[in-house]
């Protein structure tokens, strides 16, 4: 018996020690599992080796160089799941695994940096995280590999000065995907989505101003009290419980006019007329936007659940038509409309309509061309095993051939060339209507999925068409809309689905304002964070206030205890510094 106890004790000790240290074992190189996937014949055509990096590869699909990329959303797990990814794998021997993380992305990226556990090609969301990575020495300076990146430096010559703004030493440590974006290819608008049957009921009114919308919603809630399944409708809803919800969208009415430009969810807005940063909360149009929501709330037109709703909850309300109108969340239109159609109610499909505050009525809708989009920053890290090979591939992505492949697909498969113009094939059209096909081919409409992280310009190609054919307005209207959506826009008398914005948007050169950020760990950066925190904390009180001005005064009293003006002054000094450096460089 004693012998048995002894043996048991030894066995138990060994097992427990073994299991304890298994978790501590160093992670082995990733990606070999998907790298052994044999390339399917599929629609990928074999490509000859070019000097773009494919000569580093022996052509053996068992020896793919697989790189993990962090993504907040991904439609595929691996680039090899797509036709375009297969093409890239066969040509360059490179594949990408997309690691989806649905929590706070900046927190995840910070933890990866703290643990040294970042990917070979790292996604960094927003300038502050990029700066953290640069300061920690985690990113490679692309200037050291300039001879490998001639096309990269040529294509992004105008943008690289903005990208350099992230670093203190002026080095280039990142690129930004989905940049540049110009109004030729994308008219940015996240205004109001509204049920088309309600618009039709009132004779297709053209609604623009806050007053228009308030009057419309007041009638609509009475005339449409329930959805098709008997559930009560709500006037306007939006997912304020999202991390960007209360912080970003409650006051976003300020960016719909000709003065203030979309500048993110932090403590500042950008005044295009003075070309200076201003305090977000002290922006009169931000206050007016809060008042719009407060008015809706007092009249029972704002969904009470919106304060606790996430995007999924809002999408559910769109999918069964409970929401008469939705603020900001335009990217779920097609999903919601598909659900309504499947439920037998296509007439309730949502279409996007414009919004401006009453004080902005008649103004142009100022939209910056996006030259800097720190939200989608990527860099090659010190963990990269083959930086030269990766960067050669990145450089090839910046060629005309590369951009066409990434955004238009494979010639002969996804488009043909007729009279010098790219004409989408039926397969490409199918990508617009069927998500499964889009994932399989690797082509999504107007978006950077699924091959996230690679340099992609949302501009016109050398043939004068957008690189991504689905960004062409004709394509959008003919193939990106359902029959009901087309009918709704026709009812409104619009020639295109973006007519109002095409007529009213004024594109501006953003300069450096999109690149400016204060170090979050600096004293002023921390004050900035407190400014945002205070605004978010009081936002719900403002929206639900019986007396808006009283609550606003309380907020201002608290806000004035912070050194908010110093923070804005620091932002303007940063901006002035970049402009001065640019002017000096151009002399």
């Amino acid at each position: 018996m004693k012998k048995h106890i002894r043996l048991l004790a030894i066995l138990l000790a060994v097992l427990m020690l073994g299991s304890m240290f298994t978790g501590c074992a160093k992670k082995t190189a990733s990606g070999s599992a998907s790298g052994t996937t044999a390339a399917s014949a599929g629609s990928a055509s074999a490509a000859s080796a070019q000097s773009s990096g494919s000569d580093d590869w022996d052509g053996n699909m068992d020896n793919l160089y697989t790189i993990d990329i962090l993504a907040d959303t991904s439609y595929v797990d691996s680039s090899l799941d797509t036709a375009i990814g297969q093409y890239i794998a066969q040509k360059f021997g490179i594949a990408f695994n997309y690691l989806t993380y649905s929590g706070d992305m900046q927190e995840k990226q910070a933890l990866m940096l703290a643990g040294g556990d970042f990917n070979e090609m790292q996604y960094m969301q927003y300038q502050t995280i990029v700066q953290q990575y640069i300061d920690a020495g985690a990113l490679l300076n692309l200037d050291d590999y300039k001879d490998l990146l001639p096309d990269f430096y040529t294509r992004f010559a105008d943008l690289i000065p903005y990208w350099r703004a992230a670093s203190k030493d002026g080095g280039l440590y990142k690129w930004e995907s989905a940049t540049p974006r110009t109004v030729d290819t994308e008219i940015p608008h996240f205004d109001i989505m509204v049920r088309s049957d309600v618009l039709e009921h009132y004779g297709w009114p053209n609604l623009v101003t806050a007053s228009d919308w308030k009057a419309f919603l007041a009638k609509a809630v009475k005339d449409f009290p329930t959805s098709y399944d008997g559930q009560s409708t709500v006037g306007l809803t939006t997912p304020l419980a999202e991390s960007w919800g209360m912080q970003g969208v409650a006051a976003i009415g300020y960016e719909k006019g000709d003065t203030y430009v979309a500048a993110g969810n932090d403590y500042y807005t950008y005044n295009d007329k003075t070309q200076q940063f201003e305090d977000y909360l002290l922006n009169p149009e931000a206050k007016e936007s809060f008042q719009f929501f407060n008015d809706l709330y007092k009249e029972g037109l704002l969904d009470e659940e919106c304060f606790t709703d996430t995007s999924d909850n809002t999408l559910a309300k769109m999918s069964d038509g409970r929401a008469i109108a939705v603020w900001y969340m335009s990217w779920n239109n097609s999903t919601a409309n598909a659900a309504l159609t499947e439920a037998g109610h296509p007439e309730m499909s949502y279409i996007q309509q414009p919004f401006q505050l009453d004080s902005q009525a008649g103004q142009k809708y100022t939209a910056p061309a996006i030259y800097s989009y720190p939200y989608m920053s990527y860099g090659v890290t010190t963990n990269c095993k083959h930086p030269e090979r990766l960067l050669k591939f990145i450089n090839w992505c910046c060629t005309e051939e590369g951009q066409l492949l990434l955004q238009s697909g494979i010639e002969g498969t996804h488009y043909t060339v007729e009279n010098g113009k790219r004409v989408p094939t039926d397969l490409r059209y199918q990508c617009s209507s069927d998500e499964a096909t889009a994932k399989k081919e690797g082509l999504m409409d107007g978006d950077v999925f699924p091959l996230r992280g690679l340099p992609m310009c949302f501009t016109l190609a050398e043939d004068g068409q957008p690189y991504n054919l689905s960004q062409d307005q004709t394509y959008i209207d003919e193939h990106g809309l359902s029959d009901r959506e087309k009918e709704a826009f026709a009812g409104l008398g619009w020639k295109t689905s973006n007519q109002w914005w095409a007529e009213n948007v004024e594109a501006i050169d953003p300069g450096y304002f999109q690149s400016c950020a204060l170090d979050t760990t600096s004293d002023l950066g921390k004050v900035g964070a407190k400014m945002v925190e205070l605004r978010v904390k009081y936002s719900a009180n403002l929206l639900m206030a019986d007396n808006f001005d009283d609550v606003w005064s309380q907020l201002m009293t608290e806000y004035d205890k912070l050194d908010h003006q110093k923070v804005i002054d620091a932002m303007n000094e940063t901006l002035a510094g970049y402009v001065a450096a640019k002017n000096a460089a151009s002399k």
């Binding site: 000790a13 703290a114 990575y133 985690a138 419980a241 209360m246 009470e304 304060f307 606790t308 904390k537």
Partner: protein, 319 residues
Amino acid sequence: MKGSLSGGAIPAQSKARRLGLKLRRQKWLFLMLLPAFACVVLFNYLPLGGWYVAFSEYQLGDSLFGGKFVGLKYFQKIFEQSSDLVYLIRNTLVINGVTILLNLTVALFLAILLKELLWKPGAKAVQTVTFFPYFVSWVIAYSIVWSLLSVNSGAINQFLVRVGVLKKGLNILGDAKYSWQLMILLNLWKFTGYNTVIFLSAIAGIPAEQYEAAALDGANRFQQMHYVTLPNLLPTAAVLLIMNSGWILSSNLEQFFIFSNSTNWSRMEVLDMYIYKFGLKMLDFPYATAMSIIKTIVSILLLIFVNWLTKRMSKTSVL
């Protein structure tokens, strides 16, 4: 038989020899204990070295000890910003304090009632059902609560509006005035079963002779409960109280992360959420670490105090 020693101090050599003898005799038991001990050292004590971050200008990507030493700078900052902490500590103490007392009380009485239930299969069923929520994650718990209690679409709110009890659904998830009650009741739902099991095992350890003796003395079931069961359970309750008192400033981050929103923060935000916000979201690791150190020290002092108090009152202590 060992030679007896005359009165006075035990010679040190003999003590050491006895210790060595004990170690040799129980070496296999110590060997079994070794992995658990190593785990505790590795995952609970070794990371305490990271407390250096609170005394330095740590930057992301630096080694833990790479930052410049700044002494008590961040501790000072905490007290300078103490106005932020008032509502945080209030929320933490109210929710956790009431949770601890309510959970232990309800679990104690549920255990006694289950013990008294003559139909044992029924008792087992109740025990299983009450234990099940312990294994439900907070994400699922939130989904359940949302589907039952959301203002317009929650099943309970819809029912109450339909039968005329309410004119409009109660905004339990969004209204701060319900936050404390919501968290306390959710904790009760989740942990009652777990605590009940601990009390049931304590009840199982009560010698049957005590009940027999009480029955012989003419005690009915309620009197047996009062004079036998309860007094035997009090030491267990005291131990649980002491152990939980050390956690009174700690909250389940997952729970509060999910249930907090912009409308209920004034009564929902707790100390651990603040530390998370500053440490991870705002990347101010030194500040968050300093706050955690203060919280740990206060928790230890509280534990020692409650231990001393229960020792004085009931002669039961853990330390």
